[in-house]
Symmetry: C2
Subunit: 224 residues, 2 copies
DNA sequence: ACGGTGTTGTTGACTACTCAAAGTTAAAAG
DNA sequence: CTTTTAACTTTGAGTAGTCAACAACACCGT
């Protein structure tokens, strides 16, 4: 059984590798993601390599093996199912479930997870719109685009928010900017790096860093 | 924050102390309950003592302090609420929830626990009939007696089963001998150390060690 | 080709928990 | 009152994970 620490390293590697398949992850990058000293990351990656979870190239970096990726997907599945469960069944706020799930994901058994999955009706996204991998490790790839790429005047639906920080999520929640919300792009102010959207009769202006964390549904007619 | 290990030692001490208030718990007894070497228990009790959770008398034994007892009750509360939740909400079998809860009890936050409590309608017993301490650490003391003390011909209701072993619980479940079940004492065979009870039209004979683990409701007219 | 710069690897040390084995002590048995 | 015994404590060592600090290295620009 992989320890919580091992699971966290593997999960972190999985997210770093996202979007740059095959590339090596530098020890420094891993260390800063894990908030540990560089030497700690090196030592840990060696043991991950011994367990066959990563390939390690001395002074090059590391990448997940197939086994490592499978483990990572299992943890991500746990995490997101737990988040969905905490929101839907226990009524917690979407801004606080990430931290809770961070703990629970290492402890919940497969049996309990299956029951949760069933109780929720086999959801395919979590409260932030992140896709829940299947038990077999498949992740659905729904086409999305960043809110910043929506043309002014266009109406769209929020699909996903790629930030787990409670303060940010609480803010979005208060403005009604949650997955499923129907919004209209009003204005894009490039020099000011801000956009203004209309949600439920209210105009809201967001800075670029916030806008880039909001993904919206991609309309069929815009697909490549 | 107390580690899982610390929590397990404190919980174990709490159960050992049950029914002999004030008495010292010997290191050997603690060690065998925790399935560790005697020296390990000694070492751990010293650190518990440093944290103010137990009083330790060298070559005498130890006992929980008020802080230790409070922590123990919080863990027992967690454990039993989680068991009830796993059975009632997720539909797990009562024979398998003990092990699950054993893991989860160290990780569930107070917030999640409160939601579970609320969802279950503030239950006062777990699936085995064990009382769930309140958040303030109060344990309800419902009067019960052992099934072995019920007179032949008398009808009663199973209230509690004081054994968490899956095999035993599965057996009881299959016979319908679960908390809430209405049973009638048929025969007590003292030389054979067995009793025969009637449950839902079926006669079932149980050995003494099994019978002693089954507690039944004590009728008002038998109360002291 | 060469040296500076920043990243990486190694070393020694620390915490928390564990064991085996040897040493100590209290108390029962003679 | 002494011996034996059983329980207890101490000691030395090991694992997992961590850090700080130093050493080794690769690469970039000159």
């Amino acid at each position: 059984m992989a320890s919580s620490t091992v699971e966290n390293y593997v999960k972190t590697l999985y997210f770093i590798e996202q979007g740059r398949p095959g590339a090596l992850v530098a020890m420094g990058e891993l260390a800063s993601s894990m908030q540990v000293a560089p030497g700690t990351a090196t030592a840990m990656v060696k043991t991950l390599s011994d367990s066959g979870l990563v390939e390690y190239e001395r002074r090059g970096g590391c990448r997940l093996t197939q086994n490592g990726r499978t483990l990572a997907l299992a943890i991500v599945r746990r995490h997101r199912l737990i988040e969905q469960f905490l929101v839907k069944t226990l009524g917690l706020d979407w801004s606080e479930v990430h931290e809770e799930a961070e703990q629970l994901e290492h402890v919940i058994s497969d049996k309990v997870l299956d029951r949760i999955d069933q109780l929720l009706g086999y959801p395919d996204v979590d409260p932030h719109g992140d896709p829940i991998p299947t038990a077999e490790g498949r992740v659905s790839a729904v086409p999305m685009e960043s809110l910043q790429d929506v043309a002014p005047g266009q109406e769209t639906v929020i699909a996903r928010v790629t930030d787990q920080k409670p303060a940010f999520l609480q803010y979005l929640d208060a403005q009604g900017l949650v997955p499923g919300a129907r919004i209209t792009m009003q204005r894009i102010d490039t020099p000011a790096d801000s956009v203004t959207v209309l949600v439920a009769e209210n105009s809201i202006t967001l800075g670029g860093s916030a806008v880039r964390k909001i993904l919206v549904e991609r309309r069929a007619d815009k697909m490549p």
